[in-house]
């Protein structure tokens, strides 16, 4: 076998059918019909390379001035604009942006410039015959002969036909017809999401130890929400269950004020809602909340993407509002600097004390979107500024705000990640805030934030900005433990199989647990981290894997009062040696509390969105009921919002 791709290529070539001839004719006619409806165009002379396109634009413009005044033309133009909007809105991306953004891609204005059909002298039949001879492939070449009579009426009829078509589209949540994001080649939808396949069920006899890094990112939940609110199920890869779990604040027991450890683990073994024969092991870590008055001064460098793609109302303008909210949380001794990147990187605001509010706000207001993105230069400059700002004991952090477009000016993503990792070791952290959809490069955002010991959050609304930048600001900005790793060893006497729900992108090798060089996630002040295993007890009918025939299971050790053993490693900020916490997991199911039940509901929600096959007949109704029964106090309404998202997803997933 020389090259696998050559084989594939040959097979593909053999398999590719020739297009159906009748469909071909129909489709070409359909395209032509839509073209006519859009243009109201008529036969033109054949263009060639000699004649410059600019000549066409001028004559088109002239024709427009002659024709726009006719009543029929105006009516047709209005109808066309209306179609534009009908076609655009089911796409739904734009539902949350003010109507002005629908047209800001130049779609509607251009429609008005369209040389609309208006009474002109009828084309001579001889011309038509000639044109038809030029284009033998087009069976409809002569179809416009004699069109001039009743031109306005026909234009309306023609525009009605595609309107009906777009009504067909409207029943589907998504269309291929122009969306504001997708009309120009530079604006095509280039979202990229980072995810792995769901972790499979593992046999304890084969692989008793499960190791992973914690994750406090929340971006996935916000992306899921923005998709659902726009009337679409999110792409499966956009759903990371652990980020959905960790989006919510939980009321877990916090470490005692005098405790040496910065966080407290709580383990609960409970009945699995979706499988009567398995159990959930719910592991919760609650970070302590240092007294806010004692927090060290903050140095923040906002690195703001002001490339042209940030122009949308849900990008740069939302970003400005968000940072305005955040400023209110800073204290006078904190310092703020702003660096922008777009084409060329530049410092917009020199390090300024947070007390000079008006100076900072003025600098924010001056930001405008334009140019292309040069992420790397901007990052380097932002880090340089942050280094100059650092005094001893300060916490320095670069906050990158972007729509994720790092395409231009970045030659090597790996080099960028290495750069960020090196800076992380020098004590400057990086957080990433994502804005807008369309070319959100979730994968890059994830990678950068993970390397930079920071969090990646996706901000789709002002209330999300409130959550990330105001309510949970201290968690986002003050790490209390770095490189937190979790390792669970299951007891083969008690557990036959297990699977970790979510955390696919955070899996670590077993030996990495004790290797302090291996990077992992960090816990911020007051953060809660949740991880859930689904375990199948020995002898349960839910065991999926048969025992091996040729390798007898090793006799299980003693202590079947233990389900497993939990090990946690973490570093205090600034330290390079990790510390260890160990505790056994009792083999005893308890009645789960509100927090645990809500966590299970969200884990179920995420798995339903990912189309997981571990859930059996457990469906949306069950998830909604479970979540509804576990709303708890919910002071910010996050959990109620999750329930309404589940309802939306339920309706959307109905065939």
């Amino acid at each position: 076998m020389s090259d696998e791709l050559d084989d594939l290529k040959a097979a593909m070539k053999a398999a590719t059918p020739t297009p159906d001839e009748k469909n071909r004719v129909d489709n070409l006619a359909l395209g032509q019909k839509n073209f006519d409806a859009l243009q109201g165009s008529r036969q033109g002379a054949r263009p060639n390379d000699v004649r410059r396109p600019s000549g066409w634009l001028i004559s088109g413009g002239r024709r427009m001035f002659h024709s726009l005044t006719s009543r029929g033309g105006l009516a047709a133009t209005t109808a066309l604009v209306a179609i534009g909007i009908v076609i655009v809105s089911p796409q739904g991306r734009s539902l949350f942006t003010p109507p002005t953004t629908i047209s800001n891609r130049g779609e509607s204005p251009k429609m008005q410039e369209t040389p609309t059909t208006a009474p002109e002298p009828a084309t001579k039949p001889a011309d038509d015959a000639l044109a038809g001879a030029h284009v033998p492939a087009d069976p409809y070449a002569g179809a416009t002969a004699g069109q001039a009579e009743g031109e306005a009426v026909m234009a309306l009829e023609r525009s009605r036909a595609p309107a009906k078509r777009s009504a067909d589209y409207a029943q589907a949540p998504s269309v291929i017809a122009p969306s504001p994001e997708a009309t120009s080649p530079e604006r095509l939808d280039t979202e990229a999401f980072s995810n792995e396949d769901s972790a499979p069920v593992k046999r304890v006899a084969d692989e008793p130890v499960s190791t992973f890094s914690i994750d406090v990112d929340t971006a996935s939940y916000a992306v899921v929400r923005s998709s659902l609110m726009a009337g679409q199920l999110p792409p499966r890869d956009a759903v990371r269950v652990e980020e959905m779990l960790n989006y919510f604040p939980y009321d877990y027991p916090a470490p005692d004020a005098g405790a040496a450890t910065p966080f407290k683990p709580t383990v609960t073994v409970m009945q699995t809602p979706w499988n009567a024969d398995t159990q959930l092991v719910h592991i919760a870590l609650q970070g302590k909340m240092p007294a806010l008055d004692e927090r060290p001064p903050l140095n923040l460098v906002f690195l703001i993407d002001t490339s042209g793609s940030m122009h949308n109302a849900n990008k740069l303008p939302l970003l400005k509002q968000s940072f305005r909210l955040m400023l209110g949380q800073l204290r006078p001794e904190d310092k703020v600097a702003i660096v922008t990147y777009a084409g060329s990187a530049g410092q917009v605001l020199a390090p300024t004390a947070a007390s000079e509010r008006s100076t900072i706000l003025a600098a924010l207001d001056r930001l405008e979107a334009g140019g292309s993105t040069a992420g790397q230069d901007g990052l380097q400059q932002a880090y340089a500024v942050a280094e100059n700002m650092s005094d001893d004991g300060d916490v320095s952090r670069v906050i990158l705000a972007t729509d994720g477009d790092f395409n231009v000016g970045l030659s090597d993503p790996k080099a960028l990640e290495d750069f960020i990792a090196a800076k992380r070791d020098s004590g400057i952290y990086l957080s990433v805030l994502g804005f807008g959809r369309g070319n959100l490069d979730d994968a890059t955002m994830q990678a950068l934030a993970q390397k930079g010991n920071g969090t990646a959050a996706y901000i789709d609304t002002l209330s999300e900005a409130q959550k990330v930048l105001v309510d949970q600001l201290s968690g986002a900005l003050f790490p209390i433990a770095d490189d937190v790793k979790i390792q669970v060893e299951f007891n083969p006497a008690a557990v036959a199989e297990y699977r970790l729900i979510g955390y696919e992108t955070r899996a670590l090798r077993r030996e990495d647990f004790n290797n302090d060089k291996v990077d992992a996630g960090e816990i911020g002040a007051g953060h809660a981290v949740t991880a859930i295993y689904e375990v199948t007890p020995v002898g349960s009918p839910a065991v999926l894997n048969d025992p091996l025939r040729y390798k007898a299971d090793e006799p299980a050790g003693a202590a079947d009062d233990e389900l497993g053993f939990l090990r946690l490693r973490y570093k205090l900020p600034g330290e390079s040696r990790s510390r260890l916490i160990e505790q056994p997991i009792p083999n005893e199911m308890v009645e789960p509390g509100t927090e645990q039940r809500f966590g299970a509901a969200i884990a179920g929600f995420g798995q339903l969105l990912r189309g997981s096959h571990y859930l059996g007949n457990w469906a949306w109704d069950d998830a909604i009921a479970l979540a509804n029964g576990a709303l708890g106090e919910d002071p910010y309404g996050y959990r109620r919002e999750a329930v309404s998202l589940m309802r939306l997803a339920q309706s959307l997933s109905q065939p």
């Binding site: 593909m12 020739t18 129909d26 395209g31 032509q32 396109p53 492939a137 998504s174 499966r236 959307l652």
Partner: protein
């Protein structure tokens, strides 16, 4: 005479409202669009539908064509995006059809066509994650360079090459597995 007019010139003229230019352009690129649609979806019926969608939407899309990129690259990008939209729509509706992932339906279609070759092809494509599949769909017929495929997908040339080597690895693993059983 007609062959001397480049796709780009036709596209610009069509974007400017020339009806004949559009007809000629669509007739010229129809087969390419269909072939790519098939490579993306792995099903003849899906490819026909997708091509129809593109024909319907192309007039409007063409207005955004500025001649900054090669027309083939541009129209391929439109096709790839339309395929993604279709997949998403299908996922919301039936939670099933994921192009090559819709294995059962394809298998039944394949039985009708009764070709061992197609079965293997479908197994191979099915074994690949969607982004590798899309990348393969673009480069397999040798029409696009890696750099151009990268432009279509909005990724770098390096990423295209990396994805191909990744696909090669996966195919090798698949072949080993098949020989093993």
């Amino acid at each position: 005479m007609r062959m001397e007019t480049t796709d780009e010139a036709l596209a610009l003229a069509a974007a400017g409202g020339d009806r004949d230019a559009f007809a000629a352009l669509l007739a010229r690129c129809y087969d390419r669009i269909f072939a790519l649609a098939f490579r993306l979806t792995g099903s003849r019926a899906e490819a026909e539908d997708l091509t129809q969608d593109i024909c319907a939407a192309l007039p409007a899309k063409l207005r955004a064509f500025r001649g900054e990129s090669c027309f083939t690259t541009w129209v391929y990008r439109v096709t790839v995006n339309a395929a993604h939209d279709r997949r998403r729509r299908a996922a919301s509706h039936a939670r099933a059809a994921d192009g090559w992932g819709d294995w059962e339906l394809n298998r039944r279609a394949a039985e009708a066509e009764a070709q061992e070759q197609i079965n293997w092809l479908q197994r191979a494509m099915r074994a690949l994650p969607p982004d590798l599949r899309d990348t393969l769909a673009l480069v397999l017929d040798d029409e696009l360079t890696h750099a151009e495929a990268g432009q279509v997908l909005g990724i770098s040339e390096g990423t295209v090459s990396w994805r191909l080597s990744e696909a090669r690895k996966k195919l090798r693993a698949l072949a080993a597995e098949e020989q093993g059983t």
